[in-house]
């Protein structure tokens, strides 16, 4: 059972690096949707079958796999797909940074004092690598849409860590968190739309009116 989880987590890690390296927003959104669906299925594989786990799975797949990517797609469609992602480090630089972050995450996670039953699982390192990938995406790219992708990677990483916690997160809170995430992406989508209208680009480095005068 756990080997299936580990294999899926490896796919998740590959998707991280793929997202960091791709130059087409459309592809990146599909990749993050795939990652969301994989993550959504994980609770079913990890925990013994229960109705409430099934409900959570449905919820997560719906939110992270369908609804959020759809919202993002809509936002980008209105802005236009012609703009490329343009990472500051270059595409290969981004991939190398992502790979390095993954290695670091594994080294660091090996030193974490995990509970005995979680030793040797990929969950903790995968969570950390995904969070780091999120930060790389946030830091290295100036397009608003990519910053949202970075934020989603960060959220996915946190979700992976949450897999270690079986019973402490009540269902209500988990559902609420997902609802907030959807609402957040919805608001971000609207803002992206307005940004493109005001600045005729979604390059956030053009937004530099607000700063301290020198």
């Amino acid at each position: 059972m756990n080997s299936a989880v580990d294999q899926l987590l490896i796919i998740v890690l590959l998707i991280n690096i793929f997202i960091l390296g791709t130059h087409r927003p459309r592809v990146a959104i599909r990749a993050i949707a795939t990652q969301g669906i994989i993550l959504g299925l994980m609770p079913l594989l990890i925990h013994p079958f229960q109705i409430h786990i099934l409900v959570i799975t449905g919820f997560v797949v719906l939110a992270k796999g369908i609804l959020i990517p759809w919202l993002l797609y809509g936002a980008v469609q209105r802005v236009g797909f012609h703009e490329q992602m343009q990472p500051l480090l270059g595409y290969s630089g981004n991939i190398i940074a992502g790979a390095l972050a993954t290695v670091l995450a594994f080294i660091f996670a090996a030193r974490l004092p995990l509970a005995a039953m979680h030793q040797g699982l990929l969950i903790a390192p995968a969570a950390m690598a995904t969070i780091l990938a999120g930060f790389i995406a946030l830091g290295s790219r100036r397009k608003a849409i990519n910053q949202v992708l970075g934020y989603l990677l960060l959220e996915n990483g946190i979700f992976i860590f949450g897999l270690l916690l079986t019973r402490s997160m009540p269902f209500m809170v988990e559902a609420g968190a997902l609802l907030d995430l959807i609402a957040g992406i919805f608001v971000m989508g609207i803002i992206i739309n307005q940004i493109s209208r005001e600045f005729s680009s979604i390059d956030t480095s053009r937004m530099n009116t607000l700063r301290e005068v020198d």
Binding site: E155, I158, F161, I191, E198
Partner: protein, 479 residues
């Protein structure tokens, strides 16, 4: 329990009504009605002290009461102010603003009454979301830039706070305890939790909720959002949302302090607090925009909160007092600043000067609340700040105490350099007067807040003083 639910339900019902009501003129009237109901309920709850719910999820303790009182008073002032403000802005549809304000009030009330860290997180995240469209109320390039920064940075911060909560929950798993995210069990467990996970949880929550509070270096969204949002929204952000972030930090602080090993936490809090005050001082010395100035002042006061938590002892009493003092003062300042902004059509001290001649009431309010906030007697912030400083000296930290006092003096000078020209300067001759006039509903609400602040400085009523004392006791100090 039912009454506590009403605290959240009333603003939500108001928001629903605001959504359904088609009249742009009638809609703002919902706000004062909801505010009055809400604040009455808050007073009732603070006196009656309802018992906690059976699972411990909902528990209105003294700390929650202090925050609830502050937020209810602030919201009431903003609600009455909004009626007249939205008269001026008739051309804009105010549906989103009315809904956002009330959903935000509901979420803030939820944060104050819950002891479940997950639910608290959820409430704080909701406040971030529902204020985002309000920052964008002015619909221009500057405000969209501010909204984007606000939304992105706060979302990331709050996500990190969630990771911190997960670490805390995982600490209970590692220790082999029954997992829980309710405050009381966590405090009881605290001594048995592995320090590594507890430290990690604290750091992530400090960064996460610190982003929401606007502690430096996570404060970068703050001047933009506060500068571009309407004064009324600025008041809610500085007096409401920032305090919610502080409450989140307080809850994790309570767990960490119960672990008995306090040096690490105190050191982190004092460092980040002093760094925030220092950053605020540097940027305040050369600030020409008076709304951005208020944002840096908020960074300073959030820094002071973190500093007070780090000092501990009597400073905790000062911090609780300062929640009221800072929140109310920020309310007055932002509402008055909004008026002055409208009177001149600018918020830069080079253009907006001589407010005393254009909008005398707003100018006087702005000036007096500036003195109040920077610690002039007899207003409340004077007593809260002095309590924090005395605690710093008596708790064996005279050096950091002195440094903070010096930085606060620099901040006073820096803010005066902006405030004094705005109030006393000569209005520019070449600019046309705007339509703005000081109207009663734009003056009375902030004036009332100022009066409360002065009154509480002179005479702290017995029940309130008891609430603040027991709030400080919950944080670990007995008077």
């Amino acid at each position: 329990m039912l009454l506590m639910a009403l605290l959240v339900a009333i603003p939500l019902a108001g928001a629903l009504l605001a959504w359904l009501l088609p009249s742009n003129n009638g809609r703002p009237l919902i706000l004062p009605v909801v505010a009055c109901l809400h604040i009455t309920l808050v007073f009732g709850l603070c006196i009656a002290s309802p018992p906690p719910s059976a699972d411990g999820w909902f528990n209105l303790d003294a700390i929650g009461k202090v925050f609830l009182l502050e937020i209810a008073a602030l919201f009431t002032a903003c609600a009455f102010y909004a009626v007249n403000y939205l008269q001026y802005r008739k051309e804009r549809n105010n549906r989103i603003l009315c809904m956002g304000m009330q959903v935000c009030l509901a979420a803030m009330s939820m944060a104050m009454i819950t002891h479940h860290l997950g639910l608290l997180w959820l409430a704080i995240e909701t406040t971030t979301l529902c204020m985002a469209p309000l920052v964008y109320f002015n619909r221009n390039a500057r405000s969209i830039e501010a909204t984007w920064k606000y939304m992105l940075i706060c979302s990331i911060g709050i996500a990190l706070a969630l990771l911190g909560i997960f670490f805390l929950a995982y600490a209970t798993v590692v220790a082999g305890l029954e997992p829980s995210l309710v405050l009381e069990p966590l405090q009881a467990y605290a001594r048995r939790l592995p320090p590594v996970w507890l430290h990690a949880a604290f750091v992530f929550m400090l960064v996460g909720y610190g982003t929401k509070m606007g502690l430096a270096p996570m404060h970068t969204w703050k001047p933009d959002a506060y500068g571009e949002a309407p004064g009324l929204v600025g008041a809610m952000l500085a007096g409401g949302l920032a305090n919610c972030g502080f409450l989140g930090l307080i809850r994790v602080y309570q767990v960490c302090m119960a672990s008995g090993d306090t040096a690490f936490y105190s050191f982190s809090l004092i460092s980040i607090g002093m760094f925030s005050i220092a950053v605020a001082a540097i940027f305040l010395l050369r600030q020409t925009d008076f709304k951005r100035m208020l944002a840096y002042s908020s960074v300073e006061h959030m820094g002071l909160f973190a500093f007070a938590l780090g000092i501990g002892g009597k400073a905790l009493y000062g911090a609780m007092l300062h929640v009221l003092g800072n929140g109310l003062a920020k309310g007055v300042l932002f509402l008055a600043a909004g008026n002055i902004h409208r009177a001149f059509g600018s918020k830069n001290r080079d253009v907006a000067c001589g407010a005393l001649k254009r909008a005398p009431w707003s100018a006087a309010l702005f000036l007096v609340s500036f003195f109040a906030l920077t610690g002039s007697p007899p207003f409340l912030p004077f007593f809260s700040e002095i309590t924090i400083f005395i605690a710093a000296f008596t708790n064996g930290r005279p050096i950091v105490g002195t440094v903070v006092v010096l930085m606060l003096m620099a901040i006073f000078v820096g803010m005066s350099l902006t405030v004094l020209p705005v109030i006393f300067g000569e209005p520019p001759k070449d600019r046309q007067r705007t339509k703005y006039h000081d109207a009663p509903l734009l003056i009375v609400p902030p004036l009332a807040l100022l009066a409360v602040m002065a009154l509480l400085g002179i005479w702290l009523p017995e029940p309130l003083s008891r609430i603040i004392t027991s709030a400080a006791a919950l944080l670990g100090v007995t008077q």
